[in-house]
């Protein structure tokens, strides 16, 4: 190899070393763990290789529950948060005077610590011997039955979880969408107005296509983020997620490694790789769909 073709590699060397040490090697290691059967943490030995770990995980009730929870979370929160963010951004965009103020308000959740926000949600929703929780007070006020959102029925807990997730991702999405809206050439709107285009048609035919790359970006990152949900769930429901029936895939992986029933890196690795496969598949589907629907400059 002559020096010319060597040089770029030399520049890349630090990044490559770093990525190899902290990304490629652990990934590879996870794969190795996931096929080692009967791995013993103390002696660091295993009895053989095969797909038993995958089979175990896929038949584990807790894992199936975690997959179900994660999917419900993803399917509800990604479209909902993107849609709400779009509505709010459109509103902000047509109220230039209030824009700065509202942008600050909507951005607050983004800079607030997850656990702190989780605590606030606890106070809002949790029923204790001393207090019903703010939301239940509201329900009472309108004459409803109080619900235990933290330790009560599954749908109530799911509701809190989805509410929380939507709320926590909104500011980022609003920020991205308001700037995307602001960057649309204003002359396009003027041209459409001269032609007497209705507001609805302007939205579907101009605004939406022009910001479609950003919406698509938000959907992809939203999917990935929601699939990786964990710390938010802990913040609301505590660490014993399996008992609460609110575990997520990442939560399952964590429990398998460090939880009370932990110490099973092989099962954890298998679950992690299954998650990886799911996210990869969904992202690929997204990319394929977007090629048809998204307009790029």
């Amino acid at each position: 190899m002559n020096t010319r073709s060597l040089k770029p590699w030399l520049y890349l060397l630090p990044a490559i070393l770093f990525l190899t040490a902290f990304m490629v090697y652990p990934l590879f290691d996870v794969f190795v763990y996931s096929v080692e059967e009967g791995y013993n943490f103390a002696s660091q030995t295993y009895s053989g290789t095969g797909i038993y770990n995958y089979s175990y995980v896929l038949h584990d009730q807790y894992f199936l529950q975690a997959v179900k929870n994660t999917f419900i979370l993803v399917i509800i929160t990604v479209p909902l948060s993107t849609g709400i963010a779009l509505l709010i951004s459109l509103g902000l965009n047509s109220l230039p005077k209030l824009k700065d103020l509202y942008q600050t308000i909507f951005f607050l959740p983004y800079v607030t610590n997850t656990l702190a926000v989780g605590l606030v949600f606890m106070i809002l929703f949790k029923k204790t011997p001393y207090s019903e929780g703010f939301v239940n007070l509201l329900i009472h006020f309108f004459g409803g039955e109080s619900v235990d959102f933290i330790e009560g029925p599954y749908w109530a807990k799911m509701f809190v979880m989805c509410f929380y997730t939507v709320w926590i991702v909104l500011p980022f999405k609003i920020l991205i969408l308001t700037s995307a809206l602001a960057s649309v050439d204003q002359d396009l709107y003027k041209a459409a107005k001269v032609d007497g285009t209705s507001r609805l048609r302007i939205f579907y035919k101009i605004t939406l296509p022009m910001i479609s790359p950003m919406i698509f970006y938000l959907i992809i990152t939203g999917f990935i983020g929601a699939f990786k949900a964990y710390s938010d769930v802990v913040a609301i429901f505590g660490v014993n997620l399996n008992a609460a029936g609110m575990n997520t895939i990442v939560g399952y992986v964590y429990d398998m490694l460090y939880g009370d029933s932990g110490g099973y890196p092989s099962f954890a690795s298998a679950a992690a790789l299954i998650l990886f496969a799911i996210v990869l598949t969904i992202t690929c589907i997204n990319l394929l769909v977007s090629r048809k629907k998204v307009y790029y400059d």
């Binding site: 002359d187 003027k190 041209a191 107005k193 032609d195 209705s198 035919k205 022009m210 400059d297």
Partner: protein
């Protein structure tokens, strides 16, 4: 259809929160005759776009009325005025093909005007043929040159057969050669369709070359309306005189004493006017090179450009950096000479009041007087 603008004024609220206003267009009154191409000309920020937006209906005037023919359209939204508009940035929808861009306005038609897909296609093709882009119908705007995009924008503006076509600096994103070509094209299209057209530009040459009438404005105020040559020959004030013509008019400070016009200490012409302080504007073609001429400048250089010779000289009282005079190539001065001497052509020598900068219409009188 003629357009009448009646005391149009547009004020924008000032951003400085002092409650003040920016007056973008001030008390504008004029009439655009039916089927003519009018060039709206003025420096950047003088309110040309604001003017056009008011005619189009994108902005509501603060005061005054707008009439299309006999109809008062001041309160009408753009789509009910029958206007087509071409923007400086073209404003083509980048995600749509040329065909979709041109049919876009037609798809908005409702009720009895509603067209079938075939009718829309036919109309789009007709408009495309007019601007000669019918072979590009399936392209996206990003796959076309600036000139082609401009034509698409014009086709889109024409597809609804507007009563008025408005063009806001349509050529400023094109390179010099394409600009010449496209402006001829616009002229041709306007002649073919006979649509009353308002063409905004800050390029005086552009306005002069294609307009039936030019309207010169400055800081929101109408300066002069007229045929291009008339306005050039007979500007009403110093601003218009300076704004039109390349090379620009040469402006000197001068005075009238005893019926003689002085530039510095040299009497250059005999006039009927009484004593006053003036600006003297001399068009580059207003100089006659002559050994015995009364007006003397320090010769700088001589530039030969094809048919014409441009004599570049300096004069201490000239407001321009150099004095440019264009003479026919036969009377070329000696390039090594220190000074050049000129006679001035009276019809190319314009006088303006020193204070108001308004034109002084004077009579030249024979020397004997």
């Amino acid at each position: 259809m003629k357009i009448v603008l009646d005391h149009l004024t547009k004020r924008f609220p000032n951003r400085n929160k002092d409650g003040g206003f920016v007056t973008a267009v001030s008390d504008f009154t004029f009439e655009i005759p039916d089927g003519k191409l009018v060039g709206l000309l003025g420096p950047s920020g003088c309110g040309k776009s604001t003017m056009l937006n008011m005619i189009c209906g994108l902005e509501v005037p603060s005061e005054g009325r707008i009439y299309f023919g006999e109809d008062d359209v001041t309160e009408l939204p753009p789509e009910n005025r029958g206007v087509g508009m071409v923007f400086q940035s073209y404003a083509l929808y980048p995600h749509l093909t040329v065909m979709q861009n041109i049919t876009f306005p037609l798809e908005n038609l409702k009720g009895k005007d509603k067209l079938t897909k075939e009718q829309m296609k036919a109309k789009a093709l007709e408009a495309a043929r007019l601007v000669q882009i019918e072979q590009l119908m399936e392209r996206k705007p990003s796959e076309m040159s600036g000139g082609q995009q401009q034509r698409v924008a014009i086709a889109r503006a024409l597809v609804k057969k507007p009563r008025v076509l408005l063009l806001d600096e349509p050529l400023s994103n094109l390179d010099a050669r394409l600009r010449l070509q496209t402006r001829e094209e616009i002229r041709r299209i306007q002649k073919e369709t006979k649509i009353t057209t308002v063409f905004v530009t800050h390029d005086q040459e552009e306005a002069m070359s294609i307009s039936d009438l030019i309207v010169v404005m400055s800081a929101g105020v109408l300066q002069q309306i007229g045929k291009p040559q008339e306005v050039y020959d007979d500007p009403v004030n110093l601003f218009v005189a300076k704004f039109l013509g390349t090379p620009a008019i040469n402006v000197f400070t001068g005075k009238i004493r005893n019926h003689r016009l002085f530039i510095g200490d040299e009497p250059v012409m005999h006039v009927q006017e009484d004593d006053r302080e003036v600006y003297v504007g001399i068009r580059p073609e207003g100089f006659i090179l002559d050994e015995n001429g009364p007006f003397t400048c320090a010769l700088n250089r001589v530039e030969v450009m094809g048919r014409d010779t441009s004599v570049v000289s300096t004069h201490p009282l000239c407001e321009n950096v150099v004095v440019r005079s264009i003479i026919s190539t036969e009377d070329k001065p000696d390039p090594d000479a220190q000074d050049v001497h000129f006679f001035l052509k009276p019809q190319k020598t314009l006088l303006f009041d020193r204070n108001t900068q308004e034109r002084i219409y004077y009579h030249e009188v024979p020397e004997a007087l």
